[in-house]
């Protein structure tokens, strides 16, 4: 457990993803609206390269015809089977046990560090 430099901020443009080798997998470094997130590029469901999915704003509804697109809540949607996980915490959007592994991110100046 130690923070390590992995990329500079200009390597990860807004709404972009940079893949970083990590053990036998990769880590996907995301940049969404000024915030950086890091997740393991391995879906806990079927082992898909989840970072090739899309970051979306989840849709919720409080009543018929009352929909909310939660634009301040980035969710990573797997390219296989389309399961959703919170980019920030890795928690599943559905009430299921599978969780996406995440890594703590620190930005120091133009440097992005991960707790690996």
């Amino acid at each position: 457990m130690a923070f390590q430099f992995v990329a500079t901020t200009d390597e990860v443009p807004d709404h972009g993803c940079k893949l970083i080798p990590y053990r036998k997998h990769e880590i996907g470094l995301f940049h969404e609206n000024g915030a950086y997130y890091a997740v393991l590029n391995y879906c806990p469901h079927a082992g898909a390269p989840i970072c090739r999915g899309e970051v979306e704003a989840p849709l919720t509804a409080s009543a018929d015809g009352t929909y909310t697109v939660e634009t301040d809540r980035p969710v990573l949607r797997c390219p296989w089977h389309h399961w959703e996980f919170e980019l920030k915490t890795g928690a599943p959007v559905c009430d299921i046990k599978q969780k996406l592994k995440t890594f703590e991110v620190v930005v120091e100046g133009n440097n992005i560090l991960l707790d690996l």
Partner: protein, 349 residues
């Protein structure tokens, strides 16, 4: 080694079909494009896997060279059975148009896909709106060495046990080809008497979940209408419609048959007993109970060791790759489900 029973290839553009279409369909395609059914719901949130993009453009599944690398080579395939795209075609009311289109698909597959890799095999598409024309298509190409089955979608105006379909079954039996049934896409659901067992679905999610209703009804019809007594060499395989419902259906059919046998007088044995010789199921979408042991119990109840075959549904959004399915299968089933059952069923060495 893997045999994949459901690989959806497609065309880079509808114009690729033009060399295989006669008039008036060729002129219509040039002037107006293809005909498609839409039920007014959003099917696009399903669609294709988002990580598949052929390098030279085109939609996922449109490049035989890219698919070879991305699927056949990657997972050490023995065979990929090409099943096509456009399963709303059997809901189109113009049988002549539908028959011409599926015939063009078949010729396109033969010319554009089979030469790329000998591991590509193909289904023979037919439009069941006109069983006579469908039978002619089976007679035209049914003996092609790379055709392994007849194929149509589950979108139909009546259940498949109806005698209306007999010409297709006669032709399939004549050429010793099993028949694969695949869900029609959601856009075509209004072409059926009922989109789900309960009626119209509001969403793709609701319709796609309900495909299993349709499959249960189709299999019930095939069995009780005595199709496998009328056509004793005919075989079906049911693709992408689930299978966990099979034990329930077998038990219920058998129970009712014991008292109401007079209403299915062609049958010579219990309905469920025809399945072993005549019906197979495919894995995708793999059923996912909370307790995995429950799936293993279902496998036991349906004799999955002999009735289940692997299908990926590549490149669709809910496709399952071989490693994922392998992890979910007990060791005793792995070889048979991934390869041997399909090899035996389709006569593939």
């Amino acid at each position: 080694m893997v045999i994949d029973c459901d690989v959806h290839h497609t065309r880079k553009s509808p114009n690729e079909l033009l060399p295989y279409l006669k008039e008036p369909w060729k002129g219509e395609m040039i002037k107006y494009g293809g005909r498609y059914l839409s039920a007014g719901i959003n099917s696009h949130d399903g669609g294709n896997r988002r990580d598949i993009q052929p390098p030279n453009g085109g939609s996922p599944g449109s490049d035989p060279h890219h698919m070879k690398e991305d699927l056949l080579d990657k997972y050490d395939y023995s065979y990929a059975i090409l099943t096509g795209t456009g399963h709303d075609v059997t809901g189109i009311p113009d049988a002549d148009y539908a028959s011409a289109i599926v015939s063009a698909w078949n010729d396109h597959t033969i010319e554009h896909w089979l030469p790329v890799d000998k591991r590509y095999k193909m289904v023979l598409w037919v439009a069941h709106q006109d069983p006579q024309q469908a039978a002619q298509e089976i007679d035209r190409l049914g003996d092609h060495p790379d055709v392994v089955s007849v194929w149509f979608s589950s979108i139909s105006a009546m259940p498949f046990g109806n005698r209306f379909f007999h010409p297709i079954y006669e032709a399939a039996q004549r050429h010793n080809l099993p028949i694969g049934i695949h869900p029609g896409n959601a856009g075509a659901m209004m072409a059926q008497p009922s989109a789900t067992a309960a009626g119209m679905a509001r969403t793709y999610l609701e319709w796609h979940t309900g495909v299993s209703h349709m499959y249960m009804a189709q299999l019930t019809s095939l069995l009780f209408e005595g199709i496998f007594e009328r056509f004793p060499k005919l075989r079906f395989y049911l693709v992408e419609g689930g299978y966990s419902w099979l034990p329930h259906l077998m038990w219920r059919m058998d129970a009712h048959y014991k008292g109401l046998r007079q209403q299915a007088p062609l049958l010579k044995k219990l309905p469920s007993e025809y399945i072993a010789d005549h019906v197979r199921f495919t894995t995708q979408p793999l059923e996912e109970p909370k307790k995995h042991e429950h799936l293993l119990q279902i496998f036991d109840m349906m004799d999955a060791e002999n009735t289940l075959m692997f299908a990926s549904d590549y490149p669709h959004w809910d496709s399952d790759d071989p490693p994922y399915v392998l992890r979910k299968l007990p060791e005793s089933l792995q070889q048979k489900v991934l390869h041997d059952n399909a090899a035996k069923f389709f006569g593939l060495d």
